[in-house]
């Protein structure tokens, strides 16, 4: 049976159909989960997609963390379920306390939509298990607030615990330690600013997002 991936839809989300299409094209089952529902059904993994949940009002993710579905997503994550936050989804996961740190405005104070090179820093996560350390991936970024920051203690912890999973080769936004993606201490929650779903087709210029989403499907196939 194909693994089932739930994609959370908040008012203001806009990458939910893209994540849906990419998961389906990779052989997974995808379904849209409404933010106002408390249930996530019988999904094997959750993607919190990109966009502007609740208009990014106050600050990105600050209101989305209060949507009813987030309590269930948090419980699912605590039980070891695979949860990936992409772009705005990463911001939501930090606001919800599922990942440490915060995303502030890009160093250049501009929105940035471009394709960048990432380097895999850890393969021990639900999003990078099918990659190899040092592997370079060409993946689009698309954000204004993608500049990762955290306390010195948290950064030391992330480094010591091998929880930085993806780094920018040429840091586009000022992120601390070139961080593009991190995972939780249990390795089952991953947040990243780049959009792997935008890099799954030759026609779109890159297929380097496929091993990342395939990793997620593998994690979903083997429930925690």
């Amino acid at each position: 049976m194909s693994p089932r991936v739930g994609v959370v839809l908040f008012p203001g989300s806009n990458c939910e159909q893209d994540a849906f299409e990419a998961i389906r094209d990779l052989g997974g089952d995808a379904e849209i989960l409404w933010h106002g529902d408390a249930s996530i059904g019988a999904v094997d993994a959750v993607i919190v997609p990109g966009g502007f949940a609740h208009g990014d009002y106050l600050r990105p993710g600050a209101i989305a963390r209060f949507s009813p579905i987030m309590a269930t997503v948090s419980a699912f994550a605590r039980d070891g379920g695979a949860v990936v936050g992409i772009c705005n989804g990463f911001q939501v996961l930090t606001e919800a306390g599922l990942l440490p740190g915060a995303l502030q405005k890009n160093r250049g104070l501009k929105f940035l939509c471009t394709t960048v090179s990432l380097r895999v820093a850890s393969t021990d996560s639900v999003l990078t298990s099918e990659t190899v350390i040092g592997q370079e991936l060409r993946i689009p970024i698309n954000h204004f607030e993608g500049n990762y920051t955290c306390s010195a203690e948290t950064l030391a912890e992330l480094q010591a615990e091998d929880r930085i999973v993806l780094r920018y080769v040429d840091n586009p936004n000022g992120s601390m330690d070139d961080i593009a993606g991190i995972c939780s201490s249990e390795r089952n929650v991953v947040g990243l600013m780049p959009h792997p779903e935008r890099a799954c087709r030759d026609l779109l210029g890159s297929t380097d997002g496929r091993p990342l989403l395939q990793s997620l499907l593998e994690a979903a196939r083997i429930p925690a």
Binding site: P11, C15, Q17, L109, C113, P140, N142, L203, L204
Partner: protein, 745 residues
């Protein structure tokens, strides 16, 4: 003596007399305000309508032509494409960020009004020169506004243009094009039908923003800074999150079959939406002004009826479906209120049929009572005086000017023309929806065509381009516009697409100047002729007049948006690049004519005669280009347009980081002429002969002009530039002048 009130609302004495005649009495203040906004130049097209009738609008694949909210084209597989272009020039000149943002919001509503999901935006932008601080401030604000609104509302901006020129110093042009797709059988029109059906206002509350925007701002020129500052409250403020929820709610209402008709609220606000839906449906409408949610408690009825508050839609719903419709809106957190009822139309024989009545409560006083159709159908139509400028020679079709100067430094001239626009479009999400096969920066954008409901991939693509050239149109507006349409066709061909339809945005000066009306009339004739010959019907347009500052009109700037289809999208188009060892070939014929060219303008030259355009030959060139691209026979391809062959080659080099060595380009004219119907291609050596054969069979002249490779950009006897220098000049021009930081969020 105080000025009569109709004049302060922008109506002439004759127009006021017409209103008295239509009503059989003098209008009250509210009625006068409603006529004033609807009869404004922006809403009524009173100066241009007469001329727009000359455009060809027919085609078997055209489902909806001009006059509705958007043009709609059948693109096959049960999918229709809705397309529209609009200007937001005047608001952007006053308040760049919000002016541009609300321009994006407005064009989106025009598209989802038709039942289509917006899938792409294009932004043709024109600003004053980069060395002017105010122009830089406007450019930065406009780009931030497009970025801030477009990204957040979740529609990718896949292309456009960025032009800097003295002519736009006080009056930038901010045009916005939107493309949407819908299942062909879900097409809805902005009509109110069915007596007793309900008019439901969706979205934002109504405030005092944008009151009289169409009449105060868009239908007059600019005078001095103090007066312009006083107009700032006429610029609306956008909320992309409200719009995003409105899009989802409206499409859900349409999916559920709950909507009889739907109309966006744009220029002239509720007055336009209620009267247009009623008169298009042949009906009347009662509106309860007290049922409209307000941002401020003490608003007057005339303010409520003419406010241009953003992110509002008017849906016509059957009473039985109301509860379900309200539930859908509630899910998306979209405010929805019944504000009107459809009443009988004139056809019922009812003497009161077809009235638009504004009521103070359903059973309260009648505040306004006028024939709904009179706001549109009785709007004034002007045949304004037309006169060619004094220095125009009709017999020779030349604009008298001094002789062209001679340049000593062609390499330097070429560097001056190089500008990478990625500073602009890297601030736009251009990839959302996983459709963007070719994004901004190429000759045309290419999008995967997926079914809007099932998401099924058709294996085909849509292509989009916007083109305008004020330099050509300043020399000869008719020929310049025809050349622009031709360029669009060739841009589409360069990505393998055949053209289907045109929308246009006519940006001109003050129509009360006979020379401006001449430019407008000539441009329309040039567009009509080219569109007929090239098989591209005009399915919609927008006219922006009064683009002037301190009495000086802008150069005529018709902007063409063209939609095409790629019949088999199985690989990315080659794009404008070079490969090592690639053979460079020019297709087409270069006329030794520099008039109207970017190079000539840079030398301060504005006269002369434009190159000739052979539309039959042009069609053949476009056909050959499509064959070469779809057959994967070329490694790189670029339309030769503004900047001529020199700029085309240089752009291919700096984009790919591969130099070239060229010869057989003999002089300045051959280097910088903007003769139409030409493309430059870069071909792998083993494919050269097959490519030349294809061209020869189609009767297209070719010239082998050189080889790609190395780190120099050189044309024998003309110039020799270092690739790294050229690339840095190209890349740094915008960032170094516009700066890396932004002042607005």
């Amino acid at each position: 003596m105080a000025e009569p009130i109709h004049r302060s609302l922008g109506l002439t004495d004759d127009e006021a007399a017409d209103i008295d005649r239509i009503l059989g009495r003098s209008p009250n203040h509210l009625e006068l305000a409603m006529f004033a906004v609807m009869w404004s130049e922006h809403c009524s097209y009173k100066s241009s309508r007469l001329h727009l009738k000359r455009l060809p609008t027919e085609g078997e694949w055209v489902l909806v032509g001009p006059g509705e909210n958007a043009g709609v084209i059948d693109v096959g597989d049960g999918i229709a494409a809705a397309i529209r272009i609009e200007s937001h020039n005047h608001p952007a000149a006053i308040e760049p960020y919000q002016g541009a943002a609300t321009g994006v919001g407005g064009i989106l509503r025009d598209i989802f009004t038709m039942g289509a999901r917006p899938i792409a935006l294009m932004d043709p932008l024109r600003f004053g020169p980069l060395n002017d601080a105010r122009s830089r401030w406007i450019a930065e604000g406009v780009v931030s506004g497009v970025s801030g609104y477009g990204n957040s509302v979740g529609v990718p901006t896949v292309g456009g243009e960025t032009v800097f020129d003295e002519t736009y110093a006080e009056n930038p042009l901010v045009n916005v094009l939107c493309l949407g797709v819908l299942p062909t059988d879900r097409l809805v029109l902005g009509q109110a039908t069915g007596v007793g059906n309900l008019a439901v206002l969706l979205g934002s509350s109504t405030g005092r923003d944008g009151i009289g925007g169409v009449s105060v701002l868009a239908s007059a020129g600019f005078s001095d800074d103090e007066a312009d500052a006083a107009k700032r409250p006429s610029v609306q403020v956008g909320d992309p999150f409200e719009e995003k929820r409105l899009i989802e709610a409206c499409l859900a209402l349409l999916d559920a079959g709950l909507v009889v008709g739907i109309q966006d609220l744009g220029g002239a606000g509720l007055t336009c939406a209620t009267s247009e839906t009623a008169s298009r449906g042949g009906m009347g409408m009662d509106v309860d002004v007290n049922a409209i949610p307000l941002r401020e408690a003490d608003m007057q009825p005339f303010e409520i009826m003419t406010s241009e508050s953003q992110e509002r839609m008017l849906a016509i719903v059957e009473p039985d479906g109301l509860d379900e419709a309200l539930a859908i809106c509630d899910r998306w957190e979209v405010q929805a209120n019944v504000i009107g009822r459809v009443t009988p139309g004139p056809a019922t024989g009812d003497a009161d049929g077809g009235r638009l009545r504004i009521l103070d409560g359903w059973d309260g006083d009648v505040l306004a009572d006028l024939p709904a159709a009179s706001l549109h159908e009785d709007a004034p139509l002007y045949d304004r005086p037309i006169h060619a400028p004094a220095d125009w020679n009709e017999a020779e079709r030349t604009l008298v000017g001094p002789d062209l100067p001679i340049s000593e430094d062609l390499g330097g001239d070429l560097l001056d023309l190089l500008a990478d626009t990625s500073w602009v479009w890297s601030q736009y999400d251009h990839q959302l929806f996983l459709n963007t096969v070719e994004g901004p920066g190429g000759d045309a954008a290419v999008l995967r065509l997926k079914h809007p409901v099932t998401g099924d991939d058709t294996g085909r693509g849509l292509a989009l381009t916007t083109d305008g050239n004020h330099r050509w149109c300043a020399v000869d507006p008719r020929q310049g516009t025809a050349l622009t349409v031709a360029e669009s066709v060739l841009n589409l061909a360069c990505v393998g697409a055949r053209p289907l339809a045109v929308v246009n945005c006519l940006n001109f000066g003050n129509p009360e100047h006979p020379e401006v009306m001449w430019q407008l009339s000539e441009a329309i004739d040039g567009m009509a002729e080219a569109c007929r010959a090239l098989g591209t019907p005009v399915v919609g347009g927008n006219v922006s007049l009064y683009n002037e500052s301190r009495g000086a009109d802008i150069d005529p700037t018709p902007v063409i948006g063209m939609l095409g289809v790629v019949d088999r999208l199985d690989r990315r188009p080659p794009g404008p690049g070079l490969i090592d060892e690639g053979r460079l070939v020019l297709l087409g014929v270069t006329q030794p004519e520099l008039s109207g060219s970017a190079w000539a303008r840079a030398q301060g030259h504005r006269g002369g005669r434009l190159p000739a355009l052979d539309l039959a030959f042009h069609t053949r060139v476009a056909g050959v280009v499509r064959t070469l691209v779809s057959g994967a026979m070329v490694a790189g391809i670029h339309d030769v347009g503004s900047g001529g062959l020199g700029l085309a080659l240089a752009e291919m080099a700096v984009r790919s980081g591969v130099g070239f060595q060229a010869a057989r380009i003999h002089d300045t004219a051959e280097l910088f002429s903007e003769s139409p119907s030409r493309v430059v291609i870069c071909v792998a050596p083993d494919l050269l002969q097959p490519v030349l054969n294809v061209c020869e069979e189609a009767g297209i002249p070719t010239a082998r002009i050189g080889v790609a490779g190395g780190t120099r950009l050189s044309v024998k006897d003309l110039f020799d530039l270092d690739l790294a220098v050229a690339a840095a000049t190209w890349r740094d021009r915008l960032p170094s002048t516009l700066g890396a930081g932004t002042t607005q969020g």
